[in-house]
């Protein structure tokens, strides 16, 4: 994984939300923390080109988010803060197959890939269920399956354990820890990222801290107090 920000800045309606940022990420597990409104989601969206830099440049594995948006999104999958809006077709297995459309696989290959990814997250029994009826934890796993079926190199997750009960939170946490992909995880649940390789802390649209989890989290606690 190779994510680079070169003086990249994000603005909404003229207001700077992420100040020019230069940064290079290559560790396998990266946590992102910070207060509400500090710019975490915007930063994450800049990585896969859902938010484009107003000035500067962002590249992912060598692809520029402005020039090669589709390629960047092929490299970096994204799980939204609200997985509900991420599942697009009414039946889970059909939704997961939809992500594979652009790969032009045969029907049998598509079906095999869908079954494999559902089994990987222990939700094979949900294949034929209506998405509308799934619980929060089931939806989160379904969103993971729908994104990882296309085999991105990097997975970005925006507060994946938000709104989950204790049991589902444990389940999703264990699932995240078991992932082989590179991950960038935004979380207010500090326990989730304590054993990550690197943690970034945002404050008022700037990268305020960057380093090993223990120290960054300790300083974040002081900042928040």
């Amino acid at each position: 994984m190779d994510i680079r920000f070169e003086q990249a800045e994000a603005r909404f309606e003229g207001r700077t939300v992420v100040h020019p940022l230069t940064l290079s990420l290559s560790e396998r597990r990266i946590g992102v923390i910070g207060l509400n409104g500090s710019g975490k989601t915007t930063f994450a969206r800049m990585i896969n080109g859902l938010v484009l830099p107003a000035t500067g440049q962002v590249t992912v594995n060598g692809f520029d988010t402005v020039k090669d948006g589709d390629k960047v999104r092929g490299q970096a999958g994204f799980i939204f803060q609200n997985p509900q809006n991420q599942i697009i077709l009414p039946i889970l297995k059909e939704d997961i197959a939809l992500g594979l459309k652009s790969k032009k696989l045969s029907k049998a290959e598509t079906q095999a890939a869908v079954e494999a990814v559902l089994a990987r997250f222990g939700i094979a029994h949900l294949a034929d269920r209506r998405v509308h009826e799934l619980s929060g934890g089931e939806l989160q796993l379904a969103a993971l399956a729908s994104v990882l079926v296309t085999r991105p190199d990097i997975l970005i997750m925006d507060e994946p354990t938000n709104q989950l009960d204790l049991r589902n939170r444990d389940l999703v946490e264990r699932t995240i820890h078991g992932l082989d992909e590179n991950v960038v995880v935004i979380s207010h649940d500090l326990g989730l990222i304590t054993d990550f390789d690197r943690v970034l802390c945002f404050h008022e649209g700037r990268l305020a801290d960057d380093g090993a989890p223990a120290e960054v989290i300790a300083r974040y606690r002081e900042l928040a107090a």
Partner: protein
């Protein structure tokens, strides 16, 4: 609205979605050209036989068909009052036949297959440069997926009014509903991009 598809492996499940959709279109044309109550009754009876071959059971069948049968009953009552018994009988038998055959098609065609077929049928339009065929299929999938979501949001807003003792007025319900729906639409659009579903080939 929910998906009405029923998992199964009957002859009708295996029939291609195109054959079913085109067959249904042809049948409805024929039904509207026929004006004999006797023939239409036979058609309705055939529809009933085909539908019951899906073996859904009485309860399931009733739940699925109830909305459309109620609609037919209302139309029939008005026809009876305005046009008399003969016309009412024609309306009931014709619409019942149509409803039963259409319900059979929806119960034996998965949303995915349905979308693929619509996409294929829209290909000529794509060649004319009018639309991207895949977008039409995607749009239909999105409607089926998010209508229940919007309905449950409507219920939540209505409950919020009740809980706070506010009167449920169309305007005070519609405004938050529209805002929430548009906000969601933005996110759904972002998700479609993020998952590369509309990626340029």
């Amino acid at each position: 609205m929910k998906t009405l598809y029923v998992e199964g492996d009957t002859f009708l499940h295996r029939l291609s979605p195109r054959a079913k959709l085109l067959g249904l279109a042809a049948l409805s044309l024929v039904l509207f050209l026929i004006h004999s109550p006797a023939v239409l009754s036979v058609a309705a009876l055939l529809g009933g036989i085909v539908y019951s071959s899906l073996r859904l059971g009485w309860r399931q069948s009733w739940l699925r068909l109830r909305p459309i049968l109620l609609t037919i009953a209302i139309v029939a009552i008005f026809t009876l009052i305005l046009n008399g018994r003969e016309d009412a009988l024609i309306v009931v038998t014709r619409l019942t036949a149509l409803a039963l055959f259409a319900a059979t098609v929806t119960a034996t065609t998965s949303t995915g297959d349905f979308i693929d077929e619509i996409t294929r049928l829209a290909m000529p339009l794509e060649r004319l440069g009018l639309v991207r065929a895949a977008d039409i299929g995607l749009a239909i999938g999105l409607v089926i997926r998010f209508v229940p979501e919007i309905l449950s949001r409507y219920q939540a807003i209505r409950d919020a009014h009740r809980a706070r003792g506010l009167k449920v007025r169309p305007l005070t319900v519609a405004v938050p509903l529209i805002i929430l729906t548009l906000k969601n639409a933005d996110e759904i659009a972002a998700a479609i991009d993020a998952r590369g579903i509309r990626a340029q080939k």
